[in-house]
């Protein structure tokens, strides 16, 4: 199976998903086995419609509209439920709340006492200190996604599930956002769903390509992420990923 020995261990749990998925009597995947390594970035790369997001939603415990038969297991045997932070392609900011309150959305929705100091700290760390009282509408797409990142960190969960969170950003903002997210999400068990080979090549400790035929484990570059976007190694990995994606 996966090279468990190469996984970094810092008391964080990893997770396994194994099983079949049927959607309206159409088989999306069969006997699929995904390992999300603890404390590392696992990139799930694949074309649109292949079921990457479905996998992520299964792990997140969200409605998939289909039937999953199999199991989802964490290393410490504690259910995933309530232990994940989630970021989607859309920033999902509540337009009626300012940035500060958006970062505190989780506490608001659980009825917990909000930790304003931590929120302020996280907003500063994503570089939006002077914007914290503005509404989301006043911010650019990249800034809004940084708020979403701060909101995910506010939840302080061991698992972070990222569903193409950088896909809607322009190239420059995307690469900056990748660096910021990577820096802030170290020491978490991250699953990143993406259709961008360059993104997987930069960010993955582990890279899996999802195709109709199943998951393919892809050899990652030797250097640890995050890799420079212009490093020969990154570009080479990107090319090989692209070849894998296009191969039938």
């Amino acid at each position: 199976m996966t090279a468990q020995s190469s996984e970094r261990s810092n008391d964080l749990p990893g997770a396994n998903l194994q099983g079949d998925f049927n959607h309206q009597s159409h088989n999306l995947f069969t006997d699929l086995n995904l390992r999300v390594a603890p404390g590392a970035w696992t990139c799930l790369l694949g074309p649109s419609g292949v079921g990457k997001s479905t996998l992520l939603r299964l792990l997140a415990g969200l409605n998939t509209g289909g039937i999953f038969t199999g199991f989802i297991q964490t290393d410490d045997a504690v259910p995933m439920d309530g232990r994940i932070a989630y970021m989607a392609q859309s920033d999902l900011l509540a337009p009626w709340l300012n940035i500060h309150d958006n970062v505190l959305l989780g506490a608001r929705l659980r009825g917990d006492a909000p930790n304003h100091d931590l929120a302020n700290d996280l907003i500063s760390r994503v570089g939006l200190k002077e914007h914290s009282l503005k509404g989301p509408a006043a911010l650019s797409g990249g800034m809004r996604q940084r708020v979403a990142l701060a909101r995910a960190l506010m939840e302080d969960r061991p698992f972070v599930l990222l569903d193409e969170p950088f896909a809607a950003l322009d190239a420059k903002t995307r690469s900056e956002m990748q660096e910021l997210a990577f820096e802030m999400l170290t020491k978490r068990t991250v699953l990143l769903v993406t259709h961008d080979p360059a993104e997987a090549a930069r960010l993955g400790h582990h890279i899996r390509i999802m195709k109709k035929t199943g998951l393919i484990k892809h050899q990652t570059p030797t250097s640890p992420p995050i890799r420079a976007f212009d490093a020969p190694e990154t570009i080479e990995a990107q090319v090989r990923l692209m070849q894998q994606l296009r191969a039938d």
């Binding site: 997140a60 859309s90 959305l105 659980r110």
Partner: protein, 245 residues
């Protein structure tokens, strides 16, 4: 500001054209009184009109508040309770097939000639647009936001009141704006069917005595009030959801 000036110009032109038609066609004043005649009827009957206007305004405002509150409560209740959704929703849709105007004589029969039957009429006519607009808005929260709330471990009640409800405020605003236009219609119809007070009653009275200028004056006061009410409610709903602009 420009809009106000434009409105004033349009209004002046319309009144001018009206006066012109009256002068040129030589139509008798008991069929179509000119604006000058209507204005003097308004000044002459000012106290009378205001007296009756107070009644209608009270009916409309009370009806608007109660009807909107009932509509909002119903929408929230439909969100909370699955059995309410199952049994109430068909009833609500069916009740809309009954023309509310046709109920006016029954309401007068049951509640008498006073202010009560008119308030109930206004409530009935407002209730559905408020309930259905608000329910629609509560129902159509961005599914991505709901997913996010679920991963955050949001409680059901907080999801409703802190996520679905604020997201539905623009829809509630459209419902309230509709209500502001419908409420005066309900009250006046109620007055037509049976009353001894109110602008609707005064219109019928003036009509019966061939005081068409007074009838027009009354009609304009009613229209002015409705426009004003719509503007106030519109501003209020905009305030509720200024982020949606």
């Amino acid at each position: 500001m420009k809009r106000i000036i434009d409105t004033l110009i349009a209004f002046t032109l319309a009144v001018g054209a009206w006066q012109l038609v009256v002068w040129l066609s030589d139509v008798p004043h008991y069929i179509l009184p000119g604006p000058i005649r209507v204005w003097s009827a308004f000044l002459f009957n000012f106290k009378l009109i205001i007296e009756h206007a107070q009644i209608t305004i009270a009916e409309v405002l009370i009806g608007l508040v109660i009807g909107s509150a009932l509509g909002m409560a119903t929408a929230l209740h439909l969100m909370i309770s699955a059995s309410t959704r199952r049994f109430m929703l068909p009833v609500m849709v069916f009740s809309q097939a009954v023309p509310v105007f046709a109920l006016a004589p029954i309401l007068t029969l049951w509640l008498g000639y006073g202010i009560g039957s008119k308030i109930v009429m206004a409530i009935l006519i407002i209730y559905f647009p408020v309930a259905s607009n608000f329910y629609d808005g509560l129902h159509r929260t961005n599914p991505g936001l709901l997913d996010l709330a679920k991963t955050m471990g949001a409680s059901k009640i907080h999801t409703l009141f802190r996520l679905r409800l604020p997201a539905a405020l623009p829809s509630l605003g459209s419902g309230l704006r509709l209500a502001a236009v419908y409420a005066p219609i309900g009250a006046v119809i109620g007055e037509w069917v049976g009353s001894s007070k109110g602008l609707g009653y005064l219109m019928l009275l003036a009509n019966g005595r061939a005081k068409i200028d007074l009838m027009f004056a009354t009609l304009f006061v009613l229209a002015l009030f409705t426009v004003g009410l719509h503007a106030v409610v519109g501003r209020f709903s905009k305030r509720l959801s200024d982020w949606a602009e």
